[in-house]
């Protein structure tokens, strides 16, 4: 006979479980890059929009990013259960049902887009709506399970926030805001492929066709180097736009040399070497990639502050 005391009680979700549906760590990147987009846009700090509206715009972009995270968790609940990295998420642990995640995602998507449109302009709102659609439908439902180029194309979703922030202030999409988009777009593949190198078994088990699974780790190492080189060119191009100054140039030169050296180290290793030290170099490169993006956007912020105080200026 079944012992009733052994049957698990349905787990009651805490508020924090709903917050983790929104992928707070990804959201922090969205918030920071969108904030920089708002601040560096022409007149961003003392210009066409009130500071509170600028703050509200960043909040809407963050909520929109979180909503797409919830939709991703709803759709990917089956593979999240298999992967070590994701099995602690609220749906695989049974704290939140997939249906709840879907409703949270849809409600927050609608809310964030409408509020951004009403508070700023409909170009920014349209870009946010497209970002959510791109991440939830194009990346999650289509590309992620069908092509090793999943994170290359899907990376566009994570690259939109600074462009949306810029559009919220200016009502416009320009070459400079497109370059900010490109900076994150080109950064995404080396960042995720470094992760895939040391988490390959996870993707393999879940049958996600990451480049490491479909073409092997050697090809992935080559791809990391190629994308890092293109990323370096993009990062340096940003240095010669009106939003960047000496702080950005110094950060870009130092970090891109550092990042390239990391990518060269990665390509020079073979699998036996990597397994011997538990992918120490790849893990370091992954952590460096986080610093890389943060430092580039921080440098743009510093340059903007220097311009305000009349110290710096475009190169």
């Amino acid at each position: 006979m079944t012992d009733i005391s052994q049957i698990d009680e349905p787990k009651e979700a805490e508020f924090s479980d709903y917050v983790s549906l929104l992928k707070p760590r990804v959201m922090s990147l969205v918030v920071f890059t969108a904030f920089v987009g708002v601040v560096v846009a022409p007149g961003g700090l003392a210009g066409p929009i009130h500071p509170f509206i600028a703050f509200f715009a960043v909040l809407c972009i963050a909520i929109g990013g979180g909503a797409s995270g919830a939709l991703n968790m709803w759709y990917d609940a089956d593979i999240d259960r298999i992967m070590k990295r994701t099995k602690g998420r609220p749906i695989p642990t049974g704290k939140v049902t997939a249906g709840e995640a879907l409703y949270v995602g849809l409600a927050l998507s609608f809310f964030s887009v409408m509020m951004l449109g009403l508070a700023t302009n409909w170009l920014a709102a349209g870009l946010l709506a497209f970002t959510i659609f791109f991440y939830a439908v194009i990346y999650t439902m289509w590309l992620k399970r069908s092509t090793p180029q999943n994170i290359v194309i899907g990376g566009a979703a994570g690259a939109f926030p600074p462009m949306i922030g810029w559009a919220a202030v200016t009502g416009d999409v320009t070459l400079t805001s497109t370059l900010l988009f490109l900076l994150i777009f080109m950064w995404t593949p080396p960042h995720f492929w470094a992760l895939a190198l040391f988490m390959n078994s996870d993707y393999d088990a879940a049958k996600v066709p990451m480049l490491t699974v479909t073409h092997g780790k050697r090809t992935t190492r080559v791809h990391i180097l190629v994308y890092t080189a293109v990323l370096a060119l993009t990062a340096l191009w940003v240095a010669f736009t009106p939003i960047a100054g000496w702080a950005y140039l110094i950060v870009a030169v130092v970090l891109n040399i550092w990042f390239m050296l990391g990518a060269v180290q990665i390509i020079r290793r073979d699998e036996s070497e990597a397994e011997a030290d538990d992918y120490a170099v790849e893990r370091r490169f992954f952590k460096l990639s986080l610093l890389y993006l943060f430092a580039h956007f921080l440098a743009l912020l510093v340059d903007k502050i220097l311009i305000i105080f009349g110290i710096g200026g475009p190169l």
């Binding site: 805490e14 508020f15 924090s16 509170f52 509206i53 508070a119 736009t241 009106p242």
Partner: protein, 78 residues
């Protein structure tokens, strides 16, 4: 019956209720502040711009002043 009496549900869902309460309260405050800013700053600015436009049109129609053609904004990337 005391109004403060709590059921078991209140206890198990305390975190959700408080969190949702803060979110909705924050939303109301934000919309209120946003509305006040729109009324106090943006709408007067729009009215001033419209008045200026009307004044320019009136001047141009009376033949005293011909407004210069609009110069497109400078390309912000060199």
């Amino acid at each position: 019956m005391a109004i403060t009496q709590l059921s078991e549900r209140h206890e198990t869902r305390k975190s959700r209720n408080v969190g949702l309460g803060f979110c909705l309260g924050g939303f109301v405050v934000m919309v209120l502040v946003l509305s006040m800013i729109k009324i106090a700053v943006e709408i007067p600015a729009q009215r001033a711009a419209q008045a200026e436009q009307r004044a320019l049109e009136a001047q141009s129609s009376s033949g005293k002043f011909t407004p210069a053609p609009r110069i497109p904004p400078k390309e912000e990337v060199r």
